[in-house]
Every structure is written in structure tokens, then in C-alpha cells.
């Protein structure tokens, strides 16, 4: 017998988006309503499987009667709400958010849609001057203090790649501080709490306690943080090494969906294969069992497949 859960009926609310009336169930976010209407709304810190933190502010929209712009990803549609998604104020804020991010972190490995938004909002990431690496180590930043302001250009988050384990690397010069990895490591998925946001202001950073290397932290190498990272700051070590060698070639890669062979849970795996070798493993966000999450075995335990010298 199969049981199906019926959610209690939800009241419908009607508002307008860009002048068009929109009727959605109560609790629907402005972002969901926009997407239903086919309005392309940029997002960076938003992911369907995680609690919205509305920190990136690239999804802001103008709501009539509201002094400041509101984040579409976490504001629910209210009755009579009049939303503008492409007003001058919205475009300016979205452009500035993209320019500010582009001037401080390396966005080159972001998803293609980020590059599309940079073009669409005419974001000029060079307008704050040439990139200047910070003088002090980012991990040593003290709350409430910073060195003399840069006059030669725009201070960035540039720092060496943290390569401290066999499975994945952390290149925080690409980190936009979207909090997704922290959420995935915490209550939204893994409940391991190996990483958190440390420091504050421009010195805020993702860190283990006292910035200890991952092997000394609580990390269990589930790689769910890599899965949700939108900028390539967290990356399979295999991918990092191949990129360094110039061997990384996405155009030669195929993706095969399969089921993890380790246990009976039935997690879906997406094996990314290049030149007949598995180079990384992801999991589909919309899969009922995993919702994009895996454990260390599903994520990193694929070497045996390629061990061609197995005997018997």
C-alpha cells in the first residue's frame, strides 16, 4: 500500500509582478513567483535545498511601499504586493552587487549564468581599480581592525589555495561568502559543523576552528559543500590538479547517472567521466533520496572502479 501525504490547502494570494497579476499559494516566495512567470532572476546564495540566507542581495526586487529593496529569495508574496523586478533601482543594485563581488573575488569559474548576468547588468568589475592582494593573511584578520585603506586599487580576497587533504581543495580567493557550504555542513544537510563563518566585515571568511587544516577538523569528507559551492571555491582535488596541468576538458566529459553501490540507501550518483576516468562525482538536487547530498563513499570512493589491475 502506498501512502501519499496531502498538504493542508493553502490560501491563494494575488499580487503583481512587473504590473502583471500573479496568484500563488500563500508562502510562495517572490523568487518562486518570478520563476513561474519566466522572469530570469539572478541568485547566488540561493539553492532550493537550503534555507535562504539572503546574503548576496543579487536577487533584490522593488516592492511598492518598502523603503529598501527586498530579497526575492526569502520574502513571501503578500496580498496586494506590487513587485518590480527590472526597475532602475533594481538594476543598479544588482549591477553593483556583481561589480563589488567581481572586484573582490575571482568569479571566473562561476556557472555560465553568472557571466550572463554580468553582461546583462553591464557590470564593470574593473571600475574600482586594479585588483590588489591583501597585505595580511586573511585568516589572521582581526574583527574591528584593518590596515591602511588601499589607494592603488581594489583590495581582494586573494589568498593561497588550501590544499590539505586528498579529496578536495578550498580556494577562498573565489569565495563569495554565500554561506551555502556552512549550511550544507550544518543543519541543512550534514550536521557535522566542521566549518563556519569566522571574522567579520571584509575579513569574514569560511573557516574551521582556528583555521586548522581539514584533517584536524570535524570534516567527514562528504563533499556536500562542494556540491553547493557556486563559484568553484570548493573543488574536487582531481579537478584542481587537472586544471593545474591543463588537462581539464569539460567538452570531453560525459555524465553518467547511476546508483551508488555501497549501501542500500540508493543515492543517485552523477559520474563525470573524462578520457574514461571518473574525475568528479555529483548528485542531482531533485532526487528524492539524496537531494544532492552524498557521503564520503559515494562522493570520493570511486577509485576502485578504475583499478584495472584487480586480480580475479
Amino acid at each position: 500500500m502506498t501512502a501519499s501525504f496531502v498538504a493542508p490547502p493553502r490560501r491563494l494570494v494575488t499580487g503583481t509582478i512587473d504590473g502583471r497579476p500573479v496568484t500563488v499559494p500563500e508562502g510562495t516566495t517572490v523568487l518562486q513567483a518570478c520563476r513561474q512567470q519566466g522572469i530570469d532572476t539572478p541568485t547566488l546564495c540561493y539553492l532550493e535545498t537550503l534555507t535562504p540566507v539572503n546574503a548576496c542581495r543579487v536577487c533584490v526586487v522593488e516592492v511598492e511601499g518598502s523603503r529598501a529593496l527586498v530579497p526575492a529569495c526569502s520574502r513571501a508574496v503578500e496580498p496586494g504586493m506590487a513587485v518590480q523586478t527590472d526597475s532602475e533601482r533594481v538594476r543598479t543594485s544588482r549591477r553593483l552587487v556583481l561589480e563589488l563581488l567581481g572586484s573582490s573575488v575571482d568569479l571566473s569559474l562561476c556557472a555560465p549564468e553568472v557571466r550572463r548576468w554580468l553582461v546583462r547588468y553591464r557590470a564593470d568589475t574593473e571600475r574600482f581599480g586594479p585588483a590588489q592582494a591583501p597585505e595580511a593573511a586573511r585568516d589572521a584578520a582581526r574583527p574591528g581592525h584593518h590596515g591602511p585603506a588601499e589607494t592603488g586599487g581594489a583590495e581582494t580576497c586573494a589568498q593561497p589555495v588550501k590544499d590539505d587533504n586528498e579529496d578536495y581543495v578550498r580556494d577562498y580567493s573565489r569565495c563569495i561568502l554565500c554561506y551555502k557550504c556552512v549550511e550544507a555542513c550544518g543543519t541543512d544537510a550534514q550536521n557535522t559543523f566542521a566549518i563556519a563563518v569566522a571574522g567579520r566585515g571584509f575579513g569574514a571568511r569560511i573557516s574551521t576552528e582556528f583555521a586548522v587544516p581539514l584533517p584536524d577538523s570535524a570534516c567527514v569528507y562528504c563533499g556536500n559543500c562542494i556540491q553547493v559551492c557556486p563559484t568553484g571555491a570548493l573543488m574536487f582535488r582531481s579537478e584542481h590538479v587537472m586544471r593545474g596541468d591543463g588537462r581539464w576538458a569539460p567538452e570531453r566529459q560525459t555524465v553518467t547517472t547511476t546508483i551508488c553501490s555501497y549501501c542500500g540507501v540508493g543515492c543517485n550518483l552523477e559520474l563525470h567521466v573524462q578520457d574514461n576516468s571518473i574525475v568528479k562525482v555529483t548528485s542531482p538536487l531533485d532526487h528524492d533520496v539524496t537531494r544532492g547530498n552524498l557521503c564520503v563513499k559515494g562522493r570520493f570512493g570511486f577509485q576502485f572502479v578504475q583499478n584495472r589491475r584487480r586480480e580475479g
Partner: protein, 634 residues
């Protein structure tokens, strides 16, 4: 939760500090030391996890005892609470008064913010650099400051602007042997050097501690400051002899709904900056069916140039205790929190003592004044974060987290501290509530103007003859306020006034006739903010001041949202380029860049910090404060 903690490395002093807050339960089951034999995991359980909110008090205990939060100390605290170490480190590294690297046991925080800057703070810092070396955070990376027992750092406003230039001394050590922290103002070079040499330093005879409106004879118009300087702040009897606890008695007679009705009649607006009707706020909480309700007094006064709440807490602490009790009664809350700024050790000591005195005399606890109403107050200490004054950030800080604000709605009346319906007001607003109850709502509404009722505290500092805290009925003009403070120091010409704090705006001499009411300053595009009137004469370097403000916002941004986190950096860089005479493109390009940043920060930031971070800069630019360099010392 799968904790990996290493409590084994905590020193004896660290364990004692943590146990001092959490109680001594050294059993393995509560996170105490495990032996190899027990072979069990640390178990937390629901009860243990509920103590998460004690993280800040525990971190304070560690910092006060050993001078920094060490990995061993943090690990032990994490095992006992239990909190994941990465999260606890995230919290410890958020607050400026906590150190997560070894640091001398005595650290002198030297205020170099806007008000003290007008009192020679920058020259003091330069002199200190020459005499004792650079501030601790400017030492070469990796180079430890050596075996020195003391060091100094620059600090944002310490809330002693009327006495400036101010310093705060943080001393670590065994309890009872050395004091925890102490403020000194005015603190000239000799005094700071004495403190750095390990001495207690002696406060030189400076200005009167709290100069007030018409110091002698005493102004009968004083309401919020009625007892300041008259009543003994350490004595509950003295407080009652000066009219204390009459308001609570009247509140109990009126009933909770009666109190809110009086507040409605008084048309009291919150003094924290947003000018929200207090009655509406309390009513929303009182009527919320979710129980229990909570009330919070926001005493995290950190707006540069503001010192009013500190004066009230230091000189009349029972007023805060009584007002919070009234608030709890009206809002139906059994518990209230008083969050005092970490830089105010004296104020915190006074209100803590006042809470204890009130409790011992039955004015807190069960059955207050013979009624069935019971109420408790818990005092919490901030740890150096301007952003913690934002209400949702303050809740997170009490809950034991990083003081990161969140988007509203939901508003605190719906979901506030610990997710409960919460009413939150600052010290001055609560003082007004006592006045409303004492004289009645209608009489209160008759003071001031139609839209701004009652009296207002103004923190007058900078280049004036008699800086201090002044109380006026709404409607007084800016010029009258400055005149009653003796006018511009030395009779020099007035160049500008920073009105409302660094989150406010600069106004010029043409604004002297503007009535300081909510509606009056709104008409000129300014705001009263926290009541700051920082007077600048023609010798003040405008661009230098504006750069200090930009530095302040960069330092105090919580770092959550992009417009504020990066925008405040880009704003400071643009001002630095202008100051260096090396604009990127033309000066007009820089102005355009600053305007764009201002718009994005105002429109897209999560909270008031980012939304106001460009206001002062923008108003200074409009007034031409950047342009003319000071004509040089007179």
C-alpha cells in the same frame, strides 16, 4: 550533532573560568575530562544544548581570565555547552573585545573616533606609536609583540565623548587580583603611558563628569536626567527617595492595558533612531498569543558620539531596572534581558548591582509590590560590535551567536529573542516610559511638539565649550542646543555639525534654526538618530573625519551581505584615493562611484548599518567638506 572537540588542552585557569559560568560538573557526561577507561562519547542532550546562549558569557570568562580565547579553552567550553568548535570560533572571532591569538594581558583601547578626534586623539595615537610602538594589530605579520605585558589598539567610539579623549583598559588575570576592565577619560598621554606601564593611572581632574543643561542652578525641566547627580546610584533607598518606583506602582494600578493606553496617549516614539511608536510595539507583543513573551533593553549604545545611555546607567541605574520591569508587566513577559555594551564596564557593574539590589528587596522576583506579577532581569555583556545594537543582531548575540542581523519581516513582536514575541527598546525610550507613567500620557504629550512629544537627550561633543548630555523638550533648535553648551569652543566659526551620529548626516551653519524634532530634521533630509550633536569648527579636517567614518563602517560591518561588506571597503578606498590626491580617473568619476555605492548600500543592504553607511559621506560631499583643507592650527 557529531562533535569533535579537544577539551584536554585547557589549562586549569581556563577550566575554572568556564566552570565559573556553567557550574562545576566535571563528569564526563557533561563534557568534563574523560578517562581512557570510560570509552564513552560526550553526550549533550536537550538540556545541555539549551545552554548555547551562555556561549558569550563563557567566552568573556575565558578572555577575562587568560587574555585570549585559546584553542584549549575554546575546546573545553565547546565540550561543556556543547557547541561545535568551528561555530564557537566563528562567534569568538566576530567580536572585537575577544582575541583569538595570544595577546598581552593588559590591552589599552584608545578611542580615535570622530568625537575624540576633535580632542586630539590622532595626535595621541601618533605619540603612542613613537613612544611604545605601533598598535598590536599593526605588528608585522607573524611577529609576536614579544613578552610585553601590555599593548594598545585603536578603538571605535568608547562613549565618553563629553570627556574625551577616552581609553578602555582590558585586563586579564585571576579574579579579584586585577580589575576586569575600566574606562578612563580624559586620558592624556601621561595617563595612557602609566596604564601601559601596568599602573592604574590616575584620572586627572577633568571636566565635571556629566555636565548638563544649566548645571547650576539645576534645570527644573530635567525629566530623564532628574536624578542624575543627585541620587546615589548605588542606593535603592536614594532612588526611591527621589521618586523611584512610583511609575511601577502606577503601572500595577493601571494594569497592562492601562499602561499601553497611557503610552498611546503620550504618542511616545522610540528614541533608537527609527522613531517607531512605543505603544504599538508593546501592544503587538502583549496581544501575541504565543507565550512566553520576552522584553529586552537595548543598552548596546555604540553609535559614535553617543553616550546618553551610559550616563543614565552609570548615574541612575535603577531607572533602567524599573523601566524594564514596567515593560515586562505591560508586555506580559516574565523575563527581561539587559544587553549592555562591552565597552561600558562601569555601567554594567552599576546595573548588575541595581538588579541584585532590586531582587533582594522584592522589586524583582515573584509578587512584585504585593501584586501577582513576577519578573526577572538578566544582564548580558556585549563584546565589541556596533552591529549588535541592531535589534535582530542583538537577539543573536544573546542567543550565543555572531551578531548578524536578519531580514525583517518577521518583526521582533512576532519572532524575536529565542523566536519568542519580543519587545525591545533602548534605555532612553524606557526612561520616557517612566515619565509617561509618572505624569500621565496626556501631560507627556503636551511637552514638545505635536508629532514629537516629550523630551530628548542630546549628546553634545566636539568643538564646544561645555560638552555633555543635555535634555530639552522637543522643539529646541540646533543653535539653542549649541549655545547652551557654551557655543563653539574659543568662539571660532562653526563649520558643520554631525547630527544623529555617523549613521546620520552633516549639516551646515544654515541648519542652526532647524527645530530638533523628528519632523523638523526630516524636512532637511537629516535624522536625529541617537541624539548626537557633534560640533565641528573651521579647524577640523573634514576629509579626515569622513575617512574615519568610512573606516568605522568597514570595521563594523558584520560581513553578511555584499553591498555592505564590500561596499564599505570600496567607499573607504575611494576616500583614501581622494585624500591622497590620486583619484581613479577624475574626481568626478570618484564621486560617481561613491554615489553608486551609496545607492546600492542604501537599497540592497540587509540592515540599517549598510543602509546608512554612506549617509554621512554623501552629506559631507554635498557640503563640500572634502574640499577645503583646514587653514592650520590657530
Amino acid at each position: 550533532m557529531d562533535l569533535r572537540v579537544e577539551p584536554g588542552h585547557a589549562s586549569w585557569a581556563e577550566r575554572e573560568a568556564v566552570d565559573g559560568v556553567l557550574g562545576t560538573v566535571p563528569a564526563w557526561a557533561d563534557g568534563g575530562e574523560r578517562t581512557a577507561g570510560d570509552g564513552r562519547m560526550v553526550e549533550g542532550g536537550h538540556a545541555a544544548r539549551e545552554r548555547r546562549h551562555l556561549l558569550l558569557p563563557v567566552l568573556h570568562a575565558l578572555q577575562d581570565r587568560v587574555g585570549w580565547i585559546s584553542p584549549g579553552g575554546l575546546g573545553y567550553a565547546c565540550a561543556r555547552l556543547p557547541v561545535p568548535p568551528a561555530e564557537a570560533f566563528g562567534v569568538a572571532s566576530f567580536y572585537a573585545l575577544f582575541a583569538t591569538v595570544p595577546r598581552p594581558a593588559t590591552v589599552v583601547h584608545v578611542c580615535d573616533d570622530v568625537a575624540c578626534r576633535c580632542r586630539g586623539a590622532e595626535a595621541l595615537c601618533q605619540e603612542l606609536t613613537l613612544r611604545v610602538g605601533p598598535p598590536l594589530d599593526e605588528h608585522e605579520e607573524g611577529a609576536s609583540p614579544g613578552p610585553a605585558a601590555t599593548g594598545w589598539v585603536r578603538s571605535p567610539c568608547l562613549g565618553r565623548c563629553e570627556q574625551g579623549s577616552a581609553v578602555l583598559v582590558q585586563r586579564a588575570g585571576d579574579p579579584g587580583v586585577s580589575g576586569r576592565a575600566a574606562s578612563h577619560a580624559p586620558a592624556p598621554l601621561d595617563q595612557v603611558l602609566a596604564l601601559l606601564a601596568g599602573g592604574a593611572g590616575s584620572a586627572p581632574a577633568g571636566r565635571a563628569v556629566v555636565p548638563q543643561a544649566a548645571a547650576a542652578p539645576r534645570d527644573p525641566g530635567l525629566r530623564l536626567l532628574r536624578r542624575v547627580g543627585l541620587a546615589d546610584p548605588a542606593s535603592l533607598d536614594s532612588y526611591r527617595a527621589h521618586g523611584g518606583y512610583q511609575a511601577l506602582r502606577r503601572a500595577l494600578a493601571l494594569g497592562p492595558r492601562g499602561v499601553i493606553r497611557e503610552l498611546h496617549e503620550s504618542r511616545l516614539l522610540g528614541r533608537g533612531g527609527a522613531a517607531f511608536p512605543t505603544a504599538a510595539k508593546w501592544e503587538a507583543v502583549a496581544q501575541n498569543p504565543v507565550q512566553p513573551h520576552l522584553v529586552v533593553c537595548n543598552a548596546d549604545e555604540s553609535e559614535p558620539g553617543t553616550f546618553k545611555d551610559r550616563v543614565v546607567m552609570e548615574a541612575d541605574p535603577f531607572q533602567v531596572v524599573e523601566a524594564l520591569t514596567v515593560m515586562g508587566y505591560a508586555c506580559g513577559a516574565p523575563r527581561g534581558y539587559l544587553y549592555v555594551r562591552g565597552e561600558y564596564p562601569e555601567a554594567e557593574a552599576r546595573v548588575t548591582a541595581a538588579v541584585a539590589a532590586a531582587r533582594s528587596r522584592g522589586l524583582l522576583g515573584n509578587g512584585i509590590l504585593g501584586s501577582s506579577f513576577g519578573f526577572e532581569i538578566e544582564v548580558r555583556r556585549g563584546a565589541g560590535a556596533y552591529i549588535a545594537g541592531e535589534e535582530t543582531a542583538l537577539f543573536r548575540s544573546i542567543e550565543g551567536g555572531r551578531a548578524e542581523p536578519r531580514n525583517k519581516p518577521p518583526f521582533p513582536a512576532e519572532s524575536g529573542l529565542f523566536g519568542r514575541p519580543t519587545a525591545i527598546n533602548n534605555v532612553e525610550t524606557l526612561g520616557c516610559v517612566l515619565e509617561v507613567l509618572t505624569i500621565g500620557g496626556a501631560a507627556f504629550a503636551a511637552i514638545g511638539t505635536e508629532a514629537s512629544t516629550g523630551t530628548r537627550l542630546f549628546c553634545v561633543s566636539g568643538c564646544v565649550e561645555r560638552p555633555g548630555l543635555y535634555e530639552f523638550a522637543f522643539g529646541v533648535t540646533l543653535g539653542e542646543v549649541i549655545r547652551s553648551a557654551g557655543g563653539v569652543e574659543g568662539g571660532r566659526p562653526l563649520r558643520a555639525v554631525l547630527l544623529g551620529g555617523v549613521a546620520g548626516t552633516f549639516v551646515g551653519p544654515e541648519a542652526l534654526d532647524v527645530p530638533l524634532t523628528f519632523e523638523g530634521v526630516r524636512a532637511i533630509g537629516a535624522s536625529l538618530g541617537s541624539g548626537v550633536v557633534l560640533v565641528l569648527d573651521d579647524t577640523v579636517d573634514g576629509l579626515d573625519l569622513v575617512r574615519r567614518i568610512a573606516r568605522f563602517f568597514r570595521d563594523e560591518s558584520c560581513g553578511q551581505c555584499v553591498p555592505c561588506r564590500v561596499g564599505t571597503v570600496r567607499q573607504e578606498e575611494a576616500l583614501a584615493r581622494l585624500a591622497a590626491g590620486r583619484p581613479l580617473g577624475s574626481a568626478a568619476d570618484e564621486t560617481g562611484r561613491l554615489d553608486d555605492l551609496a545607492q546600492a548600500m542604501r537599497d540592497a543592504s540587509i540592515c540599517g548599518l549598510g543602509q546608512t553607511a554612506a549617509l554621512a559621506v554623501q552629506s559631507a560631499a554635498r557640503m563640500g567638506l572634502f574640499a577645503s583643507p583646514p587653514p592650520g592650527p590657530p
